[in-house]
Symmetry: C2
Subunit: 389 residues, 2 copies
Amino acid sequence: MSVTSPKGFRAAGVTAGLKPSGKPDVALVVNDGPDATAAGVFTANRVKAAPVLWSQQVLRAGIVRAVVLNSGGANACTGPQGFQDTHRTAEHVAARLTAASRQPFGAADVAVCSTGLIGERLPMDKLLPGVDAVVRGLARDGGDAAAAAIMTTDTQPKTTVKTGEGYTVGGMAKGAGMLAPALATMLCVLTTDAVASSAVLDAALREACRLTFDRIDSDGCMSTNDTVLLLASGASGIEPSPLELTAVVTEACHDLAQQLLADAEGATKDIAIEVTGAASEADALEVGRSIARNNLVKCAFFGNDPNWGRILAAIGTTAATFDPDAIDVAINGVWVCRNGAAGDDRGKVDLTSRKVTVRVDLHAGDAATTIWTSDLTTGYVHENSAYST
Amino acid sequence: MSVTSPKGFRAAGVTAGLKPSGKPDVALVVNDGPDATAAGVFTANRVKAAPVLWSQQVLRAGIVRAVVLNSGGANACTGPQGFQDTHRTAEHVAARLTAASRQPFGAADVAVCSTGLIGERLPMDKLLPGVDAVVRGLARDGGDAAAAAIMTTDTQPKTTVKTGEGYTVGGMAKGAGMLAPALATMLCVLTTDAVASSAVLDAALREACRLTFDRIDSDGCMSTNDTVLLLASGASGIEPSPLELTAVVTEACHDLAQQLLADAEGATKDIAIEVTGAASEADALEVGRSIARNNLVKCAFFGNDPNWGRILAAIGTTAATFDPDAIDVAINGVWVCRNGAAGDDRGKVDLTSRKVTVRVDLHAGDAATTIWTSDLTTGYVHENSAYST
């Protein structure tokens, strides 16, 4: 049920014809209230897609009443015309919702998300009729249809439902490539029927993203369209403490993040890189990311090769505090590197399962973190060399 | 002839049995003088191989009389024992050269370079007899044999000869993967019969590396063993101006750098990324590198896909000065992106040849630079997932 699991939300997903495949490509999530507080986190890429620029404006007021999402086109690098297309889409959604619900909606109530190929205008002659259809299709159980309509190279929809004390958080996400810090090539809409101000939602969402989406790094690439939205209807009447709400939202984001990673393009391994003994959390993150982004490390895991030397070479590129002769590395529990040199027999490492754990102990302090990544495979190269041709 | 083209040098390459393939794996270059000035540039990786730590010490005095190089093992991440192995190798070379030439050589006169798998001790029982053999094999025309003995995954040896006014610069290099700024996974020995102080050599070598090896970036990975040495015999009796010598050394390095790139693991494209209109050279370099390291961009070129959107997304991750709506991008001469949006017909881009040129105009100033990279291919993944298994 995803985004429609919490009370106060309707959703739908339809086929507008944006995708050559004829699969669903337009989704809508509507918050029927009574509240319409919201928060959003967006890509840190300075080349931002038109819908990101638009939705950032919408979020300034802390109110979102509807989110329209399309796959089949990112509307990024499309210039002023692309921004006008986004604006027109939001206006069209607002007009149709106003007509359907006999409540006044404005374009500024409508967040817009797009995903797909960069650099091409959206076919508005298909998108606007798609908006008409998706408004007609809105239903209390439309969450799954919406989740299916935002898929691009995803092999399956990603949804989550987590419950707090008397309230629910639901969510859907899409994303498979371009997973990198400062968000993945992902769109995510989270909903809750909890009562929360936009400020509380904003703090909860930022903390949840910091601990989940920001720590998956499948290919080191950062997209132009990343958007994570959190909408609250207040329909449960329950106002959880900010700490409690943050915990449930983080759970939901963690669930979705792991689904994104498991579906990363071409991946055959889900790799958790646990960095311990760091002088600071920033050091732990830098070391974890340097390993997660190292193509040679990632190729080695694809080849079931516990190549700890490449891991040390990756660590050596960072500015983190460490003594190269004091680093220990374990792969799936075998300490193959001790004191910066060969440790236990690497032949003992079993890399046949999809889940892989790399543990790095820097012996430089007490800070720790985990970064999740995947391997670099011939499948990844194939998928990303053939995507737009 | 490579390193033996300048007067005053002898070299050799032999098979010591370090490589399972039985191919040549130990090389020696000896400077017979009259001078023995030298300079070196080493990896910026903080996890440095034992031979790097050793050779950095040797270079402090600005004198190198011999360089021994082995493939078949990097002697990196091998702890104090690995350093002792390097020391012992240098001592052994010095003893054999002393015996053979009846001139006193010390271990401190001998630079050491190693390349191959990280994390394993060198088999000294094979390496030291190899040193005996390579000393016996020293010859005035041994440059090509030396160049062949330092190859790892290289498909062909890399050598160069450039001439100045009355003097010569020769060189050999190896390297195919882990090409990244702050040097590639490369070893390079340059020789000259020019007369030059170690300070002049040092300045010439640093400038040459900055403009050549530091600007190739095949896979964004930085090795533990990178070493570039420049040895001067003074045998020509000619002392060129520092500027003139720098130009010839840069020519030689450029030639070798292009050979490294052309032989990058699995690559099917040699891609020059020319960044113009940057506010500073640092900005131009940051933008060039962000494109060169972006896996999605590199996969697109493998697929002959002029995917300028991915190039813009890569530029957007930098802190360089630019307006996203003012960026122009040309691929092989076709301006597929103008003002941050679609420009000329991308169907006009011909990507069938190996040489590819990407031109990015940031319209933010007058600085420019070029970064060279290659595509990311299924061949790269295959080679690097099967390398050590």
